[in-house]
């Protein structure tokens, strides 16, 4: 019964997505275009990767508000390093970005798991700390396109068998989570580890995404990825992940990511001011959380009713 409802949820999302695409392409003929769809997929691939991390964190009933700052700090650090030491091979920079993200995420994870501070407080604090450090390392300056080599900028654009590198990586992350979901069902073996892992993994993903982000948009600044926290949470909640933790599917989150990506892209396509983005995402989260809660309550009532029979 429970599985059926979950399946239904993803099906509704899918129908909603198709419906949205049809409506938008009626309004704007430029929307249904392979190049535009590649753009959407490239943009959403970054979101998808971090949303997978956020998904893991929410699964343990946590929340990570520091992802945007982690992306910005890792991205800025590697961009600066690349600017002053262009001789460092790209391969090393990729590793370094993951390492930076790993340390930032681990700091969150240690505070949550070992010291028992609620995730929202930890990440509210580290959001300020990491964002502040972006300013400290950069001195408030930007790293812009002409200060990056072509090899650096082409990093996310390289294709792999016709599939963008970004997508390829996102796919691998999903399998990672698939493994972790099974692991998380065996909670109780090592609760501290289970509470640390999602933050550490999210941080590592954010490190890599930070590099891809500054390479893709060819600029690193103090306010890089400022609204990213909300987008990742929105993607999870829209995808049917319960904010109380413990339920949700990767497919749902992916559909949530795509839905947000299509909406963001469509806003510019049908000439709606980008100022709508923030409010719209807030509204989407609110509506999705309300629907999730009501659906959960209904399934619970159903289960109780069945037991009574």
């Amino acid at each position: 019964m429970f599985e059926k409802v979950l399946k239904k949820r993803e099906f509704t999302l899918f129908v909603l997505l198709v419906f949205l695409i049809v409506i938008i392409s009626l309004r704007s003929p430029r929307f249904l275009n392979i190049a535009n769809f590649r753009d959407i997929l490239d943009d959403t691939a970054l979101l998808a990767m971090v949303a997978m991390g956020q998904f893991m964190v929410i699964l343990i009933a946590g929340i990570d508000l520091s992802v945007g700052a982690e992306v910005a700090l890792a991205g800025m650090s590697v961009a600066l390093l690349h600017q002053y030491h262009p001789e460092i091979p790209i391969f090393a920079i990729v590793l370094l970005s993951i390492l930076i993200g790993f340390s930032l995420g681990s700091f969150n994870g240690i505070l949550v798991s070992l010291l028992g501070i609620p995730p929202i407080i930890v990440t509210l604090g580290t959001m300020g700390i990491y964002r502040g450090f972006v300013f400290v390392v950069s001195g408030g300056t930007w790293v812009s396109a002409h200060e990056m080599s072509d090899a650096f900028k082409n990093l996310p654009r390289g294709g792999f068998l016709g599939v963008s590198n970004l997508l390829f990586r996102a796919g691998r992350e999903i399998y990672g989570v698939g493994g972790n979901e099974i692991a998380s069902q065996y909670v109780g073996i090592n609760l501290k580890k289970i509470k640390y892992l999602p933050f550490m993994l999210t941080g590592s993903i954010c490190g890599l995404v930070g590099l891809l982000w500054v390479a893709r948009y060819a600029s690193a600044q103090s306010d890089t990825a400022l609204g990213f926290n909300l987008q990742t949470i929105a993607a999870c909640v829209v995808g049917g992940v319960s904010i109380f933790g413990g339920s949700g599917t990767t497919l749902g989150v992916l559909l949530g990511v795509l839905l947000l990506g299509v909406i963001n892209n469509a806003l510019t396509q049908i000439n709606i001011s980008p100022f709508w983005q923030m409010g719209l995402q807030g509204l989407i989260i609110l509506v999705a959380v309300i629907i999730n809660t009501i659906m959960e309550r209904r399934t619970q009532e159903l289960i109780i009713r069945r037991r009574n029979l």
Binding site: G116, I121, G125, I243, G282, I285
Partner: protein, 331 residues
């Protein structure tokens, strides 16, 4: 005999309020060594302008966290209230009383909306107010875009910039002191305050003992909305302009102040004295960092660490205390 005496001194020293007070003294000493003008009464009164608006939201946030809830939408409420005041002043030529009314009403309505969704639909406060943080500021962005409203009437400036009579005492500060006294009395001397602690300690037990938990939580959210509206009126009046990014990031500082003031993040404990000392300490610390030209984003590093330390310290102190107590009992 001797041991109980040392224990009681130790006990007093270990009170969070006392530790906070010493931290406040350290901040004042450091600040006055940074600038010879700091310890001037007029100057100190002027510095309070920088934190009274936040301090006014800290008070209802204290109620909310004592109840084991949280509201991270406060800065969004400020932006939305300020935006509506801006519209009224720009397009309708609203006077000062009307602007105050609009600011307060916007805050109250948003607070009621939050409270309704949280208590009636039963969605966790963190999810609702997180969405609210972006929704409310997002509406301000939709309405204002990259425009700023600066057409406020001259008399409006008094609220945020004026002083009482011919003295140098800011109107805002007096307003805050009155509110702090009221909140202190309500928290420590009324049944409403006792109910807050009861809900924070164990909401199920509180419900079974006849407390209407949801009504009190609803009232808290309406209250913080109203006071965020008030803070918005004061802030808009002080800086004389409205931009959609007004007061961004304030939720971090407000929650930090409450938690640093000794309010347990999972609810159930807290005192007005600790929170007020914490307001002064954080406000003066920010002022000191401003004296040595620390940029705002870098101040956030300090605030972030302070938030984490503020949560770690009381807990570990409590553990230390109980360890010492059990040791003495064993003796």
């Amino acid at each position: 005999m001797k041991s109980t005496k040392t224990m009681s001194i130790w006990h007093i020293l270990m009170q969070w309020e006392v530790i906070l007070f010493f931290m406040l003294v350290v901040v004042i000493v450091v600040n006055s060594s940074l600038s010879p003008y700091f310890l001037d009464l007029n100057n100190i009164l002027r510095t309070t302008f920088n934190f009274t608006e936040k301090a006014i939201i800290v008070l209802p946030m204290m109620f909310i966290i004592i109840c084991a809830d949280i509201d991270i939408s406060v800065a969004g409420i400020i932006a939305l209230s300020s935006c509506f005041m801006g519209l009224a002043s720009q397009h309708l030529g609203a006077g000062t009383p009307a602007l105050i009314f609009i600011g307060l009403l916007t805050g109250l309505s948003v607070g009621i909306l939050n409270g309704f969704i949280i208590t009636k639909i039963g969605i966790p406060a963190i999810a609702v107010t997180l969405a609210g943080l972006f929704l409310f500021r997002g509406i301000a962005y939709v309405i204002l875009g990259d425009m700023a409203v600066t057409t406020y009437p001259e008399s409006f400036a008094y609220l945020g910039q004026g002083c009482i009579g011919n003295t140098r005492i800011p109107f805002q500060l007096v307003l805050f002191i009155i509110l702090a006294i009221i909140f202190g009395i309500v928290l420590h001397k009324t049944t409403y305050g006792r109910k807050l602690f009861a809900i924070g300690n164990n909401s199920t037990a509180a419900r079974f003992s006849g407390i209407n938990v949801d009504r009190i939580r609803f009232f808290n959210f309406a209250l913080i909305g109203l006071l965020s509206g008030l803070a918005s009126v004061l802030l808009t009046s002080r800086i004389g302009s409205t931009r959609p990014n007004i007061a961004s990031g304030w939720e971090l500082e407000i929650i930090t102040i409450v938690v640093l003031g000794g309010v347990y993040i999972f609810g159930g404990t807290g005192s007005i004295l600790g929170v007020v000392i914490s307001i002064l300490m954080v406000g003066l610390m920010r002022f000191g960092m401003g004296l040595i030209n620390v940029p705002g984003l870098v101040m956030n590093i300090a605030m972030g660490f302070l938030l984490i330390i503020a949560i770690l310290l009381p807990g570990s102190l409590r553990e230390l205390q109980s360890k010492i107590l059990t040791k003495q009992q064993q003796q």
